[in-house]
């Protein structure tokens, strides 16, 4: 008996005014001409609600580049879904924000690349910081939830105290300091993005002290890079267990990165219902349960906690999507991760140029 998903990630577009070097979108971006129409998204939202989904995250690329965002939020609300917008804050003005809030927006998550203008522009490949500060201000004046999401990596982790200060000044209900995850463009840039062990340890102390100080005022969350962990993350809460993601062209995936896996056939909302895809598709069934698990996972006590880790990460690092996630200390391929960490923690670093995220045609 397969449980229902709880969240729908609605990747509305891959268009975006930013060019972040750590973007988790796939390297192959969906062309604008292939984006789903409003009616189709509205139907998908209805199917998601029927399937048991509680929350929809409108994301992208930059979801604000879709002119039909307010109608989509209205459609989500009409189906009883909690509507959340994951955004850079560009392009947005107060009038449009009011339109989104009247349409029924419940929550906005605003990304930050740094505590400072110039550095933010370096990582985003464009000037955006001042606009984000304005957007935070506008959101606070409206009755919707606000989360600030600071994207952390080696080049800005030393600013963490400044970021905490900025978060405290803005005072959202929640702040997430999230280390880059190594998929898409971030995988290409990983040797520049992974923090050193020393930076990571220092950051943990800063976050712990901030969490205590801000307790009851701001909920502080910290996501650390799992390359440094002993065991893998339960990626997405497990393959096809909690989350369903629909791409701009309507392909349905269990996560952001699953495109990289070879030999997977992803169904599309234009030809099948979300119910059918979630419950019956080959792709969703592929890594459910335990029968696919390799050793040592299939006999491991942790298998019902972390589900053998992340398939996409296993593939990216070992070229075998069924392998134990190599971040696991018990993984046969753990050495691959150790080598990357050794390179990152070497005292002298060679300058490597950034790979900036492109835009789809």
């Amino acid at each position: 008996m397969i449980a229902n998903p709880l969240a729908l990630i609605a990747e509305l577009t891959h268009r975006c005014p930013l060019h972040c070097v750590y973007c988790s979108n796939p390297l192959e971006l969906t062309r604008r001409a292939k984006e789903l129409k409003t009616d189709t998204w509205a139907r998908v939202l209805g199917e998601a609600a029927e399937l048991g989904v509680l929350q929809v995250d409108f994301t992208g690329g930059e979801p604000l580049t879709r002119p039909d965002l307010a109608p989509l939020i209205r459609a989500a609300r009409a189906k009883g879904l909690y509507a959340s917008l994951i955004t850079s804050g560009l392009p947005l003005d107060e009038k449009r924000l009011d339109a989104l809030v009247s349409a029924g927006l419940d929550h906005l998550q605003l990304s930050f690349q740094s505590a400072h203008d110039a550095r933010a522009a370096e990582f985003a490949g464009t000037e955006a910081h001042a606009q984000k500060l304005r957007v935070a201000d506008w959101v606070k004046k409206r009755q919707i939830g606000l989360t600030l999401n600071f994207v952390i990596h080696r080049q800005n982790v030393d600013e963490l105290e400044d970021m905490v200060d900025l978060a405290e000044r803005i005072a959202p209900s929640r702040v997430e300091f999230a280390h880059v995850q190594y998929y898409g463009w971030a995988f290409s840039n990983r040797t520049r993005l992974l923090p050193t062990r020393e930076q990571l340890d220092r950051s943990l102390r800063i976050i712990e002290s901030a969490r205590q100080r801000l307790c009851g005022r701001i909920r502080v969350e910290y996501v650390v890079p799992d390359y440094y962990a002993k065991y893998p993350k339960a990626c997405m809460g497990g393959w096809g267990r909690k989350v369903v993601l629909v791409k701009p062209d309507g392909d349905v995936l269990p996560c952001h990165a699953a495109n990289v896996l070879p030999g997977m056939k992803f169904e599309n909302v234009e030809s099948k219902s979300l119910y059918q895809i979630w419950h019956e598709s080959e792709a969703f069934e592929r890594y459910r349960g335990e029968k696919w698990m390799p050793d040592p996972c299939r006999h491991c006590d942790r298998r019902s906690q972390d589900f053998a880790g992340c398939r996409c990460q296993a593939f990216l690092l070992t070229q075998d999507a069924s392998a134990t996630d190599p971040v696991c200390s018990l993984a046969p391929a753990r050495g691959i991760v150790d080598e990357i960490l050794a390179e990152v923690n070497r005292p002298l670093q060679q300058a490597v140029p950034w790979v900036y995220r492109a835009n789809p045609k």
Binding site: L54, S84, R174, C215, G216
Partner: protein, 64 residues
Amino acid sequence: MPERALRLSGPSLAIVERCDGNHTVREIVTELQKLYSKAEPQKVETDIVDYLGRLHQERALDFE
């Protein structure tokens, strides 16, 4: 809540239903003491205050 859901039933549902901007904590306590008349009133009050405190810490609600 963003990225989290509360599964509510029984008492927790009765409490959260009343967090509507129109109930004081005292009113919620009184109503639930009536609703759960077999439970010890002091315990009902303590449980409610604890629960609301936890939700506040999680930033799921505010007191006005």
